[in-house]
């Protein structure tokens, strides 16, 4: 029993000042990575979702590539995307080994070190944005389709263009409908940031493994897990609360204008926040 307790919860390992520092610093990477990749994914996903709604016959030229993009990046594991992005961007910006010619990609893009953060951090941001942008585009789409068609008909009958109707009428309502599922995917994204450890970012998993290698004890990894739980469980509860509040609101308004399109919140209910990837 003591062996077991010690393996997972050795307080000497956990709270060794040096280890604790490292783990907290690693988790701080995780938090920053989650927030930055979260924001860029939210914006990129919305961009994709709006492109997907381009109307008309010629709009297909925009719609189809967008759908293809979303399908591809939802279908590829985030881990693979992270590896491909990091290895290829670095390689493309490196000088040609034979001729010494510059690579096709400028160095500041190929090996980004913006704001003093290491390039694996930015590879992680790029790869997670590519992946989660595709996921979130589908969440937004559910929201856009849940806005009753009468809303855009009313806007269009007032002479507003498709773009104005999307921007001022449909998208604001769509977003407020999908905040809970978006938050859910944010929890998944946060957990997926640990995948960036494979390209050498000293985030919480990487640090925990280093300590494990030194001490042959899993307590630092456990500490990382506890830190995650401290953040993700309150967020999951927040999602639940928002869903309940939204349902109450829908019931109160009698679902008056809510009669067509799937209800994205109902779709999401019961889906316990879990790594979507």
């Amino acid at each position: 029993m003591d062996r077991i307790l010690e393996e997972y919860f050795d307080l000497d390992v956990m709270f060794d000042p040096e280890n604790l520092d490292k783990v907290l610093e690693g988790f701080w990477f995780t938090v920053r990575l989650s927030i930055i990749a979260g924001v860029t994914s939210l914006l990129f996903g919305l961009f994709l979702a709006v492109l997907r709604q381009t109307p008309g016959r010629w709009g297909a030229l925009v719609r189809w590539p967008t759908i293809a993009y979303i399908d591809v990046f939802r279908g590829v594991p985030a881990l693979l995307t992270i590896l491909i992005v990091s290895l290829s961007l670095g390689a493309l910006s490196a000088p040609d080994p034979d001729t010494g010619e510059d690579g096709p990609l400028p160095r500041f893009l190929g090996v980004p070190d913006w704001f003093g953060l290491p390039s694996p951090f930015w590879y992680g941001v790029i790869a997670l944005t590519l992946t989660y942008g595709a996921y979130l585009a589908e969440v937004y789409r559910a929201g856009i389709e849940a806005v009753p068609s009468g809303q855009s008909e009313a806007a269009r009958s007032l002479g507003m263009s498709h773009g104005q109707t999307m921007r001022h009428i449909v998208v604001p309502q769509a977003i407020s409908k999908v905040i809970p599922p978006l938050l859910n995917d944010f929890i998944a994204l946060m957990k997926d940031t640990t995948l960036v450890s494979v390209i050498g970012l000293a985030e919480v998993v990487q640090v925990g493994r280093d300590i494990q290698n030194e001490t042959f004890n899993s307590s630092a990894l456990m500490l990382g897990a506890i830190l995650f739980i401290l953040v993700t469980i309150p967020m999951a509860r927040l999602v639940d609360y928002l869903i309940v509040r939204q349902q109450r609101k829908t019931q109160r308004t009698g679902g008056g204008g809510d009669d067509d399109g799937p209800d994205p919140v109902a779709l999401e209910r019961g889906r316990v926040p879990s790594a979507g990837a």
Partner: protein, 258 residues
């Protein structure tokens, strides 16, 4: 309307909206099978008919929410069918529409609902649009609800906001699609009163309705539709008072029974 009220008398009698042989299909279902109509400026035209007769589709064709497959629609003598996209926006700014389900924008308060299209589609300034919105909302008796959101308004109040929203665009014609059908009985009157006032000011209106009293008292012309065609068309005294067609008689008999 302040402006149009003065220019109206001279223009009354001139054709504003003309439909020639309008057809609309949804897949195999032919909802409109050749509709002809001639609507003059300042006229109030009520469209009656059993459900599924194509009344609402007719309105949706007129403002091109459902472009017709065949036939012509002329607004001020100008063909609007088969237009390019810009033309569609142009038509919709001149033809207002009020819906059965109000379709107010729930994330905007009453004033914002009336302002948004003025600003975005007509390019009016914020203050100009707000001034117009406030004066219209006051006229329909909602001066104390300017900042309320739709979910805090009764159905009748919401519908009056929706009418103000359509009026704010200074349309030449307003289409009313069963605008009292979703209202509790005690709220119907306040909406019909607003419509009567509009009619008396000379607004050109096409009204799909089940309100026989409104049709009898307010309409200049009544259109009876069935099976996607106009069965009977004329002043209410004739169509309602002395119908010639068997189908019209049967429909009126059923409606007036209760």
């Amino acid at each position: 309307m302040e402006a149009s009220a003065t220019s109206q008398p001279a223009a009354v009698g001139e054709t504003v909206l003309r439909l020639e042989g309008v057809h609309k299909r949804f897949g195999k279902l032919e909802v409109l099978r050749g509709v002809d109509l001639d609507i003059k400026r300042g006229e109030v035209v009520c469209v009656l008919g059993p459900s599924g007769s194509g009344k609402s589709t007719l309105l949706r064709c007129i403002n091109l929410l459902e472009p017709p497959e065949e036939g012509h629609i002329l607004l001020d003598g100008q063909e609007i069918t088969g237009q390019k996209k810009d033309g569609v926006d142009f038509v919709r700014r001149r033809v207002g529409m009020v819906f059965q389900q109000f379709n107010l924008f729930p994330h905007m308060n009453a004033t914002e609902n009336v302002c948004i299209a003025q600003r975005k589609a007509l390019g009016r300034s914020d203050s100009e649009a707000t001034e117009k919105a406030v004066s219209l909302l006051r006229r329909v008796g909602l001066g104390d609800k300017l900042g309320e959101y739709p979910d805090r308004l009764s159905g009748g109040q919401q519908q009056r906001v929706a009418i103000s929203r359509a009026l704010a665009m200074d349309p030449e014609v307003i289409l009313f699609d069963e605008v009292t059908s979703a209202l509790d009985p005690e709220l119907v009157k306040e909406v019909l009163d607003v419509m009567k006032e509009l009619a008396s000011e000379g607004m050109t209106m096409v009204v799909v309705t089940h309100e026989m009293g409104f049709a009898k008292d307010v309409a200049d012309k009544v259109v009876f539709m069935d099976g996607g065609v106009v069965v009977e068309y004329g002043p209410p005294s004739e169509v309602l008072g002395n119908p010639k067609q068997e189908r019209t008689k049967k429909f009126l008999g059923r409606v007036l029974e209760h």
